[in-house]
Amino acid sequence: MARRDDRRAAATLAGPASFLILVFILGPVIGVILLSLTDYQLGARGLRFIGADNYATLFADRTFMTSLRNTLVYVGVVVPTSVALALGAALLIEAGAGLRAFYRAAYFLPVMATLIAMAIVWEFMLHPNFGLINLLLRWFGFQGRDWLQDRSTVLMTFAVIGVWQSLGFNMVLFMAGLTAIPRELYDAAAVDGADDAWERFWTVTWPMLAPITLFVVVISAIRSFQVFDIVQLLTHGGPNKASEVLLHTMYTEAFTFFRTGYAAAITVVFLGFVVALAAIKVMFERRTRSA
C-alpha cells in the first residue's frame, strides 16, 4: 500500500520536470528525427515520407563529407590543444604565488566576451594587409598570408581561435579541480619518495584530476562540434568549402536552400556525435563510481 502511494507521489513530483523534458527536449528530437525521413521543404504545403533517402544523399554529398571531415579535424585539434594548454596554465598559476586573480581573469576574458564582437576583432587582426598578425610577421621578416582566404590555413586559423576561446573556461575548471586535491596527499607522496614536480604530477595531480579532465574533454568536444558563429561571420564556409563545418552546412541547407528534411538529417548526425560523447562521459563516471 505504502509503496504504491510512494510511487504515485514520485510520479506527481517528477511530473512537471518530465513534462518539460518531453516538450522541450525529447519532443523536438523525435520531431527532427521524423523530419529527417521526409522531403519537407520550408514553406511547402505537404511532405513525403522518403525513408533513409536523405541519409543516402548525405553520405554521397561532397559538401557534407568535407564539412564532416573539417569538423572532425577542428575538434581533433581544438580539444587536445585547449585541454593540454588549460591544464598547463592552471598548474603554472596554482604554483605561482602572485597575480593569481589577474591571470585567471585574463584567461577567462574570451569566455565572457561575445564571440560575434570578438570575431570582428579577429578579422581585423587577420587582415592580409593591415592586420596585426601579418604586420608582426613582417616585422620579424616573415611573409604574411591571407589567413582566412587561403584554403590551407583557414581551418587551422579557426582552430586557433577556438583554442583561444575555450582555454580560459577549461583552465578555470582545472583550477577548481586542483584546489580540491587534499594537501596531505602531496605530503604523503613526498614522504613516499614522489617529490619532484614530475613524480608529484603523475602520482597525485593527474589521477586526482581524472574526473575533471573527463568532464573538460567532453564539454570542450561538444562545444567544438558546435562551432558555427565565427565561420558564418568570417568566411561562410569558404574558400571553396575549406572551412565548411557541420552546423554551418545544416544552417545553409535549412535557411538558404530551405531543404528542411535534409538539414534535419544533418542535425541527426550532429546529435549522434553529441550523444556519443555524453554516453562516454556517463560510462566512465559509472565505472569510477563503482570502483
Binding site: 587534499p182 596531505e184 596527499l185 605530503d187 604523503a188 613526498a190 614522504v191 613516499d192 619518495g193 614522489a194 617529490d195 614530475w198 613524480e199 602520482t203 597525485v204 589521477p207 586526482m208 581524472a210 570502483a291
Partner: protein, 381 residues
C-alpha cells in the same frame, strides 16, 4: 650499530613562524632509539608543525633536526628514513590497497624508466625487483591482517581498515622513525581504544622509534614511554606518563592532563609550613615564605569526602556523576571558587545526597602548589 640503523632523534632550538605568527619558540627535544614519544597539547600548540619539521615537509626557521645522529636539515623527506601516518590517512584513492603500499617501495627501488607502465615490465631487472617488492608488501599485509583487502580501493574500506593500510604503507620501507599525526582522531571511540592497543603492540614488535602527535591525553597516557606536553609553541614538560600526571612542572600541564580536571583553590602561606586554603589550615612543611599567595592543585582522587562535622573544608554537594566504577562528587566550597570535584567509591552514593553538607580533606603530600604565574612550587616535595 651502524648510524643508519639508529632511530634516535634530536631537535635543537627549532623555531618556526608562519608570516608574523610565531608557532614554535626554540624547541629542544631528544628521543632515544626505539622510544615511543607522544607529543600532546591543545590544537594550535605547534605539535603538528613540529612533526612536519621532523618529517621535512616544513622547513624550520632556525635550529637543527638530527635523525640517527645525522643532521637532516638539508635532506628531503624521502631521504630521512622516516615514514608518516596522516590524520586523513592520505591514501591514493585511484590505487588499490596493494599499490598504495607498494608505492613507497617502487619509488625507491625502481628507476623512473622501470616504473613506466608496460615498458617497465619488460625489463628483467625490474621484474625481479618487483617480485621482491610484492613479497615485502605481502609480509606487511600479513602482519596487519589486511591481506583480504589488497585488491580493494580505499573508497571501499572502513575507517579502521584505511588506518591499517596507512600504517602498512608506512611499514613497508622499514623506516627507523615513524611519525604519526593524530592517526586515530577520525575513528569512532571504540575503534580508537582498540587501535591504541594495536599501535602500542606494533611499536613493541617493530622496535622502531615512534613520534606520535595527539590532542587526546588518553592516547598520550596509555601508549607512550614518554609524553611531551606542548603549549603555545613551548615544550612544558617531557616525562613518563605517570609523572606528567603526578608531578606536573606547570599549572597548564596539571590542568591539561587528568580527567576530571585538577581542582584549583586559592591559598596563602599563613605561617611557616602552613598554607591557609579558604580558612582551612594545611600543614605543608616546605611551603614558601610566609605571605606568599599560591594556587593549590588537588586532583579528584586526592580529595577526601567526610561527614559535615569533620575537620577540613566545609561545602555542599551540588552535583554527582556515577560512572559505575567511579563516583564524582561536585562540592561547592565558596562562591568565588568553582566546585571541587572529588572521586569517591560508588558505594557511598547515599552518603552524599545533592544539597547535603560535607567536609573535604586533602592528603598534604599529594597536594600540588603553584605560584600565581602557574610555576610549580615544590614546597611539599
Amino acid at each position: 650499530m651502524t648510524v643508519s640503523a639508529n632511530g634516535s632523534l634530536a631537535l635543537a632550538g627549532i623555531t618556526k613562524s608562519f608570516g608574523a605568527v610565531p608557532v614554535l619558540h626554540g624547541v629542544d627535544l631528544a628521543i632515544d632509539d626505539g622510544e615511543f614519544v607522544t607529543i600532546v597539547g591543545p590544537s594550535g600548540c605547534g605539535k603538528s608543525t613540529l612533526l612536519r619539521i621532523i618529517a621535512g615537509l616544513e622547513q624550520q626557521d632556525s635550529g637543527t633536526v638530527s635523525i640517527g645522529g645525522r643532521t637532516v636539515d638539508d635532506e628531503r623527506p624521502k631521504d630521512r628514513d622516516i615514514a608518516m601516518v596522516f590524520q586523513s590517512y592520505a591514501l591514493y584513492p585511484h590505487l588499490t590497497v596493494f599499490d598504495n603500499m607498494a608505492l613507497p617501495l617502487r619509488m625507491r627501488r625502481l628507476s623512473k624508466f622501470e616504473r613506466l607502465p608496460l615498458v617497465g615490465r619488460a625489463l628483467p631487472d625490474a621484474v625481479r625487483r618487483e617480485r621482491e617488492l610484492v613479497a615485502g608488501v605481502l609480509e606487511v599485509a600479513r602482519t596487519l591482517k589486511i591481506e583480504p583487502l589488497l585488491r580493494r580501493k580505499p573508497g571501499q574500506l572502513s575507517g579502521g581498515q584505511k588506518q591499517r593500510v596507512a600504517l602498512g604503507r608506512a611499514m613497508v620501507r622499514h623506516p627507523r622513525v615513524f611519525l604519526m599525526d593524530e592517526p586515530l582522531s577520525n575513528l569512532d571511540a571504540e575503534l580508537r581504544v582498540h587501535m591504541r592497543a594495536e599501535i602500542a603492540q606494533l611499536h613493541r614488535r617493530l622496535a622502531a622509534t615512534f613520534v606520535y602527535v595527539t590532542h587526546d591525553q588518553a592516547e598520550a597516557m596509555t601508549m607512550s614511554d614518554r609524553v611531551v606536553v606542548m603549549m603555545g609553541g613551548h615544550i612544558l614538560q617531557v616525562d613518563a606518563p605517570g609523572r606528567v600526571y603526578a608531578d606536573p612542572a606547570d599549572l597548564q600541564v596539571a590542568c591539561f592532563v587528568g580527567s576530571p580536571r585538577i581542582n584549583l583553590l586559592p591559598g596563602v602561606v599563613s605561617a611557616t609550613g602552613v598554607v591557609d586554603i579558604l580558612g582551612m589550615a594545611l600543614a605543608l612543611p616546605r611551603a614558601p615564605a610566609v605571605g606568599t599567595r599560591l594556587q593549590v592543585g588537588v586532583r579528584p582522587p586526592v580529595v577526601g569526602v567526610g561527614p559535615a562535622s569533620g575537620a577540613g573544608l566545609q561545602g555542599r554537594v551540588t552535583h554527582r556523576e556515577n560512572l559505575g566504577s567511579d563516583l564524582f562528587v561536585h562540592v561547592s566550597v565558596a562562591d568565588e571558587v568553582p566546585s571541587v570535584v572529588a572521586r569517591c567509591d560508588p558505594d557511598r552514593l547515599d552518603s552524599v545526597p545533592i544539597g547535603g553538607a560535607v567536609s573535604l580533606s586533602f592528603a598534604p603530600d599529594k597536594v600540588l602548589l603553584f605560584d600565581l604565574d602557574g610555576k610549580r612550587q615544590r614546597g611539599n616535595a
